[in-house]
């Protein structure tokens, strides 16, 4: 029983991301870009800018981690194969005759498959980020967490900045501050991989990679099937919030209720109740959540 498990996880952790998983990642990212309002028209009128946005969507995490570690942000351009791959996917997604790719993508099982494969690349990115930061700072575990996080989920930040610069979107209220689900999960994963790296977590790396990937894929697929954005981490988060920021949280939510007279928000102020009460601009948020 022991050996097959080890073999399985070891073989899994040595899987190459290159052709298929990367394709799934680029496909999901570019489709997220395309679902943004006005993206198709922008691609026809100004292909270069659309291509640049697509590259930012695909390689945003790497760019952000390069900025954090003072490496050239354009380093991703040196990887010709991946650039060509991403560019061709951008091309067929936006300019395919009769929009065949989009129609194929709208088929649910394909979406699920692509999203699941994209989550696999996320694990690899986090691991790469943590190891990369460890090369610079031997004991800087905060740096390791931050770089792993940036590598895994930084694309959202980069694309938000891009939209801000273009003037498409302004940070109104707290939409910008709400951590999306991939963001939270990546933070969790980054912390776990960092502690594994510093030997605080007694588990081998390939086991952790396997378990974390399974966790990610399951959650992602469940979320997409049930169309529910707040299934999993909410109870855990609630407990943690009440433990750390406890009493005032309740007080605040009470005062909020008094101020806004919102009958539906109950005492446990959590992201779940907020998500339930704030339906608008869901398209935008959806695009962001796809990350």
């Amino acid at each position: 029983m022991e050996y097959p498990w080890d073999d399985l996880t070891l073989a899994f952790s040595r899987t190459s991301m290159f052709p298929f998983f990367d394709i799934a990642h680029y496909l999901v990212s570019v489709m997220a870009l395309k679902q943004r309002p006005g993206a198709v028209a922008a691609a026809w009128s100004n292909p270069l800018s659309s291509w640049l946005s697509a590259m930012l969507h695909c390689f945003g995490g790497g760019i952000l981690s390069c900025i954090l570690l003072a490496e050239p942000p354009l380093k991703f351009l040196t990887n010709h194969t991946n650039i060509l791959l991403a560019s061709s996917i951008w091309y067929i997604v936006f300019f395919c005759p009769r929009d065949l790719v989009s129609q194929g993508y709208s088929y649910q099982p394909i979406q699920l498959l692509a999203a699941g494969m994209k989550e696999v690349t996320r694990t690899w990115k986090i691991v790469g980020g943590v190891a990369h930061a460890n090369g610079y700072y031997r004991n800087g575990w905060i740096v390791m967490i931050a770089v792993g996080w940036a590598r895994g989920a930084g694309g959202a930040i980069i694309t938000a900045c891009e939209q801000l610069l273009k003037g498409d979107w302004k940070p109104e209220g707290d939409e910008w501050l709400k951590m999306s689900f991939p963001c939270k999960v990546t933070l969790l994963g980054s912390i776990m991989f960092t502690f594994q790296h510093t030997r605080h977590l007694a588990i081998s790396k390939h086991d952790l990679m396997f378990l974390y990937t399974i966790f990610l894929v399951t959650i992602k697929v469940t979320m997409m099937m049930t169309k529910d954005a707040a299934v999993t981490l909410t109870p855990f988060e609630d407990t943690l919030t009440r433990m750390l920021f406890g009493r005032q949280q309740q007080q605040f939510s009470l005062s909020e209720k008094k101020a806004e007279v919102k009958p539906s928000s109950n005492g446990s102020a959590s992201s779940a109740s907020k998500r339930g009460t704030e339906p608008p601009s869901s398209a935008k948020r959806h695009a962001k959540k796809e990350d």
Binding site: I67, L68, L69, A70, W141, V143, L164, E175, W176, L177
Partner: protein
């Protein structure tokens, strides 16, 4: 200056410049910085809704100077975050200030005499940071503009990053920029950076220790006085009132007069913002003291 160094004051200055900053002075720096974050309108609600964003803001307030200086000098901008003990200390201060039961810690710290002590200690850290920044940039030997810029950035801290910091809090106001409305600490850091650069390039014949000592004394006395009187005018106003009309002509002087001198000692906020709509005014009266203290930062 020769007189100072010949007396025992020289030894005093030397030992003063060698006092380790880490636990006590850094702690007071973090406390004062995060108090100013709490003065910002909306930051308490932010900390309840989005603790992570609030924590990031607090880190920017505490370590903004290092981040910006690293960015300018092409070093990893999360370089300082490898100092785990400082980060943990600042996080602890953030937690206590925002989430302490009954707001006890915050009330203790904001008690004026206590706060004055912390403000004074913060200025010690600021001057030391300017000196260290200029020393750090010194390997660009002839680039004394680089040295001034690094020292300035190190001294003025989060003020120069205010747009980014506001963005993190969900406020996007590109028109409020620190460079447009320089506050006293920013100006003082700039002048201090120039002085330290002159000292480093041997144009100013004093020892570094005594310069640190004198400049710290100046900053501490100014800042304590300003905080105690809740005023946000700066001691440079008088000097600027004479020099700027000469250098930049009469128009500049008139404008300047309208902006700063027309608003002496606290009474000014009302007149300064008299052009704003009524909505902004009621918000003003509520956050009156808060804003004033923030300006004194």
């Amino acid at each position: 200056m020769d007189l100072i160094s010949s007396l025992s004051l020289g030894e005093l200055a030397l030992s003063f410049s060698r006092v380790p900053l880490f636990p006590v002075f850094d702690l007071s720096y973090f406390i004062v910085s995060i108090i100013y974050l709490k003065y910002e309108p909306g930051s308490v609600e932010l900390s309840r809704r989005h603790p992570v964003a609030s924590w990031l803001c607090a880190m920017l307030h505490c370590f903004g100077s290092y981040i910006l200086a690293d960015l300018l000098l092409g070093e990893p901008i999360i370089d300082y975050f490898s100092n785990s003990s400082s980060i943990l200390l600042a996080s602890g201060v953030w937690y206590l200030i925002f989430f302490c039961p009954l707001d006890l810690f915050y009330k203790c710290v904001c008690f004026l005499p206590v706060k004055l002590i912390f403000v004074a200690m913060k200025e010690v850290v600021r001057v030391r940071k300017i000196a260290v920044g200029i020393h750090h940039a010194h390997h660009y030997h002839h680039g004394w503009f680089i040295m001034i810029a690094t020292g300035w950035v190190k001294g003025s801290g989060v003020a120069l990053l205010s747009n980014l910091e506001q963005l993190l809090r969900g406020v996007w106001k590109p028109e409020t920029n620190e460079i447009l409305h320089m506050s006293f600490p920013t100006k003082a850091s700039l002048y201090g950076a120039i002085l330290f650069t002159l000292q480093q390039t041997r144009w100013l014949p004093v020892s570094k220790a005594s310069l640190i000592f004198v400049f710290t004394m100046f900053m501490v006395s100014c800042k304590v006085f300003l905080t105690a009187t809740h005023s946000h005018s700066s001691p440079f106003d008088v000097l600027e009132g004479y020099i700027c009309p000469v250098l930049f002509g009469a128009t500049w002087g008139g404008d300047h007069h309208h902006d700063n001198h027309g608003a002496p000692h606290g009474m000014g906020l009302g007149t300064q913002h008299s052009g704003l709509p009524a909505k902004a005014k009621e918000e003003l009266s509520e956050g009156f003291r808060k804003k004033k203290t923030k300006k004194a930062d």
